[in-house]
């Protein structure tokens, strides 16, 4: 972990926000301990999701602890950058925070004849953030759609049931991600039921940018991965039906109670006719080991249970061994 990253993480931890909950969820004891193998060499090149940028870097650092000769390059401009990179062989890992669209899979298939392989490497609770002083604590999916969707009216905080007079008549200032990001697509599908965003939603190039903007503006609301939370913002509880609202915690995400939880995917180009090369095989084994999933925890995401980890390895024709 580089010093800057360490600092950022420090800030997040010092904020004390959400960390308690995420940390409380411990690793699945069935996950294997990673053991180094021989003959691993080359460059890990990852292009894709911005949400997973720190995660990929974290796994890269873990990997280099075992194989110092391996180079790791991570580029994260948005999930939509992953499919072109995989198709053009510019990357051997394509992290995405949403599944590939039909057209993206088609383009890949046209090039290679087979489809890309999807690995579910971790779980993220997509959180709706407001300023830390905001009196609002929870929101229903329907309200969320009204707030962000072009089908809803321009709203003030009173429309969400805020009675605090300092807030009730203020318009909600909206922040979101740029359209390349999987977060944008996931939120559009799951919170907006597929409808378009209001054109007044201010698009930020990174998850951190959304948090920073919301933390800077009292009447702002934005969405972003929970891993980027700081002390200046607060994550809302979200309800499916307007009755039972759930916090974006590990427990609620795994149980399916929190409606905006999603898998963090890594796509790879695996030829079904051949075995995986040792570099990628070992990297994937590391991801699904205790160490790799501990890194998931470290960045405030949620580790996958051993069953899912096993499924992913089997998908690649690898012997899970646990």
């Amino acid at each position: 972990m580089n010093p800057l990253m360490r600092l950022c993480l420090g800030v997040v931890l010092a904020g004390g926000f959400m960390t308690g909950d995420a940390r409380a969820q411990s690793l699945d004891p069935d996950l294997p301990v990673y053991e180094a193998a021989a003959g691993v060499d080359g460059t890990i090149k990852s292009i894709g999701s911005d949400t997973m940028n720190n995660l990929m870097t974290g796994w890269g650092d873990d990997f280099r602890a075992f194989y110092p000769a391996v180079k790791v390059e991570v580029e994260g401009k948005g999930s939509s950058t992953a499919p072109p990179a995989l198709i053009q062989n510019q990357a051997n890992f394509g992290p995405m925070s949403r599944p590939m669209k039909g057209k993206e899979i088609d383009a890949f298939q046209k090039q290679f004849g087979y489809e890309p392989t999807l690995l579910s490497t971790g779980i993220d609770a997509l959180a709706v953030f407001v300023h830390k002083d905001c009196p609002l604590d929870e929101i229903s999916l329907d309200d969320l759609e009204q707030v962000f969707s072009v089908n809803g009216p321009d709203m003030t905080w009173a429309d969400l049931g805020v009675s605090d007079p300092a807030w009730r008549n203020e318009p909600i200032s909206l922040y979101g991600r740029n359209s390349a990001s999987g977060t944008y697509g996931f939120f559009k599908d799951n919170a907006l039921a597929g409808s378009d965003f209001k054109s007044s939603v201010k698009e930020q190039a990174g998850s951190g940018g959304v948090i920073q903007a919301v933390g800077n503006e009292r009447f702002a609301m934005g969405y972003s991965g929970i891993g980027y939370a700081t002390a200046n913002v607060k994550a809302l509880r979200v309800s499916l039906d307007g009755i039972d609202a759930f916090e974006p915690t590990a427990e609620n995400s795994l149980s399916g109670d929190y409606p905006l939880a999603r898998f963090l995917f890594v796509y790879i180009n695996k030829d079904p006719r051949q075995a995986l090369d040792p570099l990628r095989e070992q990297f994937i084994r590391l991801i699904f080991s205790r160490r790799g999933q501990d890194t998931v925890l470290k960045f405030n995401y949620i580790p996958v249970p051993a069953d899912i980890a096993r499924e992913q390895l089997e998908k690649l024709g690898l012997e899970p061994g646990f």
Binding site: P84, K103, G194, D196, S199, S200, K202, S255, G256
Partner: protein, 939 residues
Amino acid sequence: MTETGSTPARRRTTASVHLWDRTAELVITAGGLTVLGAVLAICVYLFYEVAPLFSQGEIEETGRGAVVTDSAASAPAEGLITDEFGEAAFWMRPSGAVVTLLIGNEPGRVLTTLPLAANGKSVTVWSMRPGGQEIALGFDDGTVTYGAIGFDWRVVSPDQLPEAARSLEVGQIMTLADAGDDRSPGWVSRPREDLFRVSEPELELRRPFRVGRSESPVVALDYQVNAAGRRVLAVAREDRTGAFAQIRESRPLGGGAPRVRTTVWDLDLGGVTPDSLFVSADGADVLALDGDGAVRRFGTGGVARDEAIPVVEQRSLLREGEELTSMGWLLGAQTLLVAGSDGGGGAWFVAPERAGGTDGRALVRAHPLPVGDGAYVAFGPAASDRLVAGLTDAGALLVWHQTSDKLIASTQTGASDPALVALSPRGDLVLGASSDGGFSLFGLEAGHTEASFKSVFAKVHYENTPAPAWVYQSSAGSDAAEPKLSLTPLIWGTLKATLFAMLFAVPVAVLAALYSSEFMSPELHKVVKPALELMASLPSVVLGFVAAFVVAPIAAEHLSELIAGAFVLPVVAVIGATAWQAIPGRITRRVGSGFRLVIIGIAMAVGIAASLVIGPIGEAVLFTPTREAALVGAGSVEPVADASGLPAFTQDGVAEEERLRLAPLGLTEIDGLFYRAVEPTGEAAAEVESAIEAGGLAEPSMRRWLDGAFGSATPGWFLLLLAPTAVLAVIMAKRYASRMAGDSLVADALLTLGAAIGGAGVAFAGAWVLTSMGLDPRLSIIGPFDQRNTLVVAIIMGFAVIPIIYTISDDAMRSVPESLRSASLGAGATPWQTAVRVVLPVAGSGVFSACMIGLGRAVGETMIVLMATGNTPEMELNIFSGFRTLAANIAVELPEAPKGGTHYRILFLCGLVLFTMTFVINTTAEAVRQRFRKRSAAL
């Protein structure tokens, strides 16, 4: 070359000089040509990348055959679903899904039949999602089911195949049964030398379940899934009852069984069973269609659990006397394609419309269908975009994109009795079939279906929107979203940013150049100019960063002071200049220009201080909410009992643009009902007071006025009119009444002051007149306030272009011959008159070029707008809202655009438009400059 005559031999130019001369000439010519060539090449390349966007697609027949049916008496197929590669298809019949081969040695060979009915039930009706992949079935006992249908395929290595299949020729297919594997109804194909693929049909249905209590046979049904995986289902039964169900399936990420939550409502069919039912994917509407095109729309919004869903709209989708020949959803199940026997029909969807159904929405015919030979008998919507294939009774096959209205390709199938058409899941194959089982397969090269001149530049009516509009929203998380590719909002944003930046930068830069070249001492000039030029070296990303995180929050916090500054600073400058004149000449002549600069600095500081004081005062005077407005804000209102007492504009509801007119009247409107502010009494009074106190509802606030929370239009108009009227009044006074003032400075100052006050009076009167005409500036140049707004960008981008404009203008003015200045001064003109009437016109061409270069820079500026705005593709004049420019758009979206795709080429089109804009600006500038030059050359 003056030594002619006596010298015997003219000193010859040496060969080396000639050589250098020639070389230089060559190099310069070559350099110039290279630049020209490079610009041309860029232009050509942009065109080359953009051109495919507007080209048509191609369609070509690749094979035909006939289904070898299991029994001659079997019913004809009702639907087609192809696989991804055009190798096989499902022939859907209520009795079962027949799997047929389409290519290979035996096109039309039946591989297997997957039974749809089970447990003694028989299928009475079935429906398919657009593009196939999921179907729903209705049974004769009133139950329904849904599930996935399709072909599963995988790439295998040859050693995983039966012996016989390994020697398959490229492009051929072989059934697994023929290859010796009887267990599977699948087949092997070899699309490339090194690629073997095994495909198998797949059908997975849920256990049938009941929707509601009725056990009567299902006669009409539709089923859709929205982007979030929420399923909706509508059924009509023989006993004339109907039901609508919402099914939420959520699969815990941590594993485990999916949770299914089903909610069922009754559909109020009114005792009439429709011929067919359609439910939109968002579940908002259920359409019941009859054979003559009559439709009843059921609105599910806001219906309680125990109520029946009512009819909210009734109309006909066809012309009088026509018969429905075909209908079906497009991908996303928002747009319904309808065709009539007489060539009528169109693409219909439900849009917000006040004068529509009882739910404030209405079915609108948003797009026409392309005119083909004959009436449409079948539609085949694509599974991944708004592409659709249509087959007419005359056998014509048309493929078009519904959002962009672009006809991709058309051909003649030659079928005698055309009945069905399907697009493959990838949209690259079309399968047309006749009712006797004959079929033709077409290869389709669809190209860039979403882009047409109309969709890129003109208004398009998108689903769920009230009217055609220019919208840019290029990508989405799923294929079902309609692409919105209008560049107009981006061009608008570019022009808006440039205009406001230039409005700020040009006066500042040109006046600064005028001052520094004409009035500043040379020593000081030597310091000031490089300092200003240093400003240009600030990276624009730094400026953008400062704009986003420093200027924008401060400007939002101190809006009134900022606005006050725009008025106060020029006034302070004028007062300062007048005061300077009051100081006797013997003193002013003695001090250097450095000291003058200090004085100017002091004046500016005084101006800023004055702005800080005047801002809040002005805000309090102009933008203090009335008591009524505060009460409305605190929610202390009562319903208006007698609506006839309300002003005329409220009689037929309040449109969005009329809403602002309610506030000054102490009225508010919620859901069509009017409420009036009321003074609270008793216990409520304290509560309301504390609400007003805590919310600052009675405190002056320009931001809240801009947001439309209170107040009439008058103060806004007053501020907008103040500057022009006051300046005009002062100029008029100077021109026509300055003789009255004589030489007295005091009289002159009084005259100016009087004129300015008079101007303000005129501004106020004008504001009052405009307001009483019902006009409000909050709907045009000003409006709701956003922290990341045009004003902030204009100021910061102004900073980026000021150094360029300044430095070139300054050079131009300094290069005006000293003789002209001397002549002017000698003829008795003051230095100011000389500067404005002699120097500025002569240097005009240079100053103009400076402005144009600044403009070119502003048009293409990327980082500042990228960082300082929210990149919101809005089309508003409002200076307090954001925008998205062409340049920022390219920077934001290029990494996500797959090379060669529509989105990628659209971004190149952005580049081409930008290129054209700068080209036009620069060419115009050059033409204008040449004219200026001719004029000044004549001097």
